[in-house]
Symmetry: C2
Subunit: 392 residues, 2 copies
């Protein structure tokens, strides 16, 4: 995979910030690379930019094919001309998070001091660091204020960090299927993921690249488990139920041989999810980013009540949750909304009814699309944006 990575690496669009970034842990990262994709046209006033923040295992390829998997962008149904995030009107920026493995500075990058890739020595980062790195890219575009910052799951944590750390730079914020802090249950699931990776003999204490191996099984197990948490029991039952897939042996007269020789479809599906994931993701990067999620606690980061953080904010918020999401439940979105209300912030809240769990934010959900389109249209009118912007 590492060769493939180097090949695709060449095609990433990267902004290099030579001065680098001082991390919350105190370490200096220089230079700082931020890989990104853009869609649409930046307006002459530079006021129509939307920053889309990706989730734990996402990347900057939000609306064009993934260079490794060749699959459509992870939000191709949401971002494009005439789509809810309309690239005829908005200039969309999506960057690979700091610590990621798709071109931004992370475990695969070369450490200037040692001349070697960071591997597992990449410093601990926080959601604050991730947004600070994005801000360097936004500076590079000479954009003073983003029209909107939008993201789901860990992307939503970045949205909240942006709104908290750079309130004057965020006109509208859309935290989706997220929470103002990582819950104990989510830390617990992440910890199991980490232990699964550490248990892999190909892990080599994080130096698997030097040993020319990959902790593919451990990372696969981590992904399989995480994938269950992205779905709902209803979705799993509807998609797979207890249906079996035969392995090799032909069915005999009673159905027990099928039972014993076959596997459940849900197992086959999860194995596929695990094995395809390891082709496109780096284990050290997974560890760095999942840890940054665990550290996330917006109120504690600001030594304040959640409401205090947003007391003077003029950002327009639209908080979205999904009824069957048990990883980032509606209850957690409500905590956020209550805090925003206490702060007197401009906030709307929509819980989308769906049985597809956390993953729903990536799927076809007409109510969600309508909410996205309506919120952006209303906010754009308030911001005085034109209907379309075209280059040249």
């Amino acid at each position: 995979m590492s060769r493939e990575k180097e090949v695709t690496r060449l095609s990433h669009q990267i902004y290099t910030h030579e001065e680098g970034l001082e991390l919350q842990c105190g370490q200096m990262l220089a230079p700082l690379d931020i890989a990104y994709q853009t869609y649409g046209t930046l307006s002459p006033d530079r006021d129509n930019a939307i920053l889309i923040c990706h989730a734990l295992t996402g990347d900057q390829y939000v609306a064009d094919p993934h260079p490794i998997t060749n699959k459509p962008g992870w939000w191709a149904r949401m971002v494009g001309p005439g789509l809810p995030i309309d690239t005829n009107r908005f200039f969309v920026i999506c960057s690979n998070v700091l610590g990621g493995c798709m071109g931004s500075t992370g475990s695969l990058s070369i450490c200037r001091e040692t001349g070697q890739p960071w591997d597992n020595d990449f410093p601990a980062i926080t959601m604050h660091d991730i947004t600070a790195a994005q801000a360097k890219l936004i500076d590079h575009f000479n954009i003073k204020r983003l029209f909107a910052v939008i993201g789901g799951s860990m992307g939503g944590m970045q949205v909240l960090s942006w709104a908290a750390n750079y309130p004057e730079r965020v006109f509208a914020a859309m935290p989706i299927a997220t929470a103002p802090y990582q819950s104990a249950q989510n830390i617990a699931f992440n910890e199991v993921s980490r232990q699964a990776i550490f248990a892999d003999p190909e892990w080599h204490g994080g130096k698997y690249r030097v040993h020319n191996t990959l902790p593919a099984r451990g990372l696969g197990v981590a992904r399989m488990m995480a994938h269950i948490t992205y779905l709902s029991e209803e979705a799993l039952t509807r998609k797979f139920g207890r249906r079996m897939r035969q392995n090799s042996v032909p069915a005999k007269e009673n159905d027990l041989p099928l039972l014993f020789d076959g596997m459940f479809e849900v197992e086959s599906y999860l194995r596929h999810q695990g094995s395809s994931f390891v082709k496109r993701f780096d284990a050290n990067s997974y560890l760095t980013i999942s840890r940054a999620m665990d550290y996330f606690d917006l109120a504690a980061d600001h030594n304040a009540d959640l409401a205090e953080i947003f007391r003077w904010s003029s950002t327009r918020f639209c908080v979205i949750s999904f009824s069957s999401d048990w990883l980032f439940s509606t209850m957690q979105s409500r905590q956020l909304v209550r805090a925003l209300n206490r702060a007197g912030a401009n906030v709307s809240f929509v819980e989308i009814e769906t049985d597809r769990g956390h993953d729903a934010f990536l799927l076809e959900e007409p109510d969600f699309d309508r909410t996205m389109r309506g919120f952006l249209r209303g906010a754009a009118a308030h911001a005085g944006l034109k209907e379309t912007y075209h280059a040249g």
Copy 2:
């Protein structure tokens, strides 16, 4: 650990059924060992026996200290003189399930044909096989009809198998925190457990005993993940929240070093759960039994609607669920109750309000205890049992 196992094995109380048992897969297991514990006194009419069925990682030590961990029995608060399952009145039998690793025939047993332990060649078993093995033990006691069969989680699956397969032998049945079939989500979690074990380099294709190793990390990861599913988000938040435990480095002026050098208490707790589990449980046994759970689908096993199975049953059912249990949800208990009602069976149903998740059935829950005591008292009156039975 294997030496330890052999030592403790000596102290298990075992009934050996020389004729053996023909499994659903067609294989003959002979002889059949069933390790068990009993509490209380069997009445002269042999009509006061309660069979308690344990969960996936439970064993026969329901009310006395565990021979490996020395911890109190897993239901010591429920089973004993004057307790809800009152051993002054009832004769309690609890046996290690077929496929288990505490003395009953399973992966650690010697295969008669090869003279070697079964290890990972132990045949696939079902809930039907597990209850058929228990029935041999009940025959050995010359008990025609059990006063009650009681069990939680996988124990509840056994209760339902007993009531379906031996209706005339079950006066009362108490399926607790269980379901009439293993759900797709639960199969999915079990599959991740299995993959975690398979990924361990000490697994050696299941022949770890021969290699004198243990797939301790893989089994530990499996247990950690399973443990999350036994709790609720509320319970995890209440017990641990986002509190941190410092590793080694003393706290510095700002709190980030603690964040980066410490670990969350929930992580420390899960690691402990994982590492203590592997001291008392065999990985091959875990695989065999978790697979038996996945196979469980009561209606399919009987080629029938669930209600048809219980159409002529005179068993008195008390179905119990816990409001925050998301592994075996109230919804699944309701499916069972509706089927029992359609069958015209004698059934009561109680959902216990608690925020402690699936684990609640093992914990101090006063409403649960009252329900248990009340149901058994009422059923005992109908069965014409005396208030106490004492030996001699």
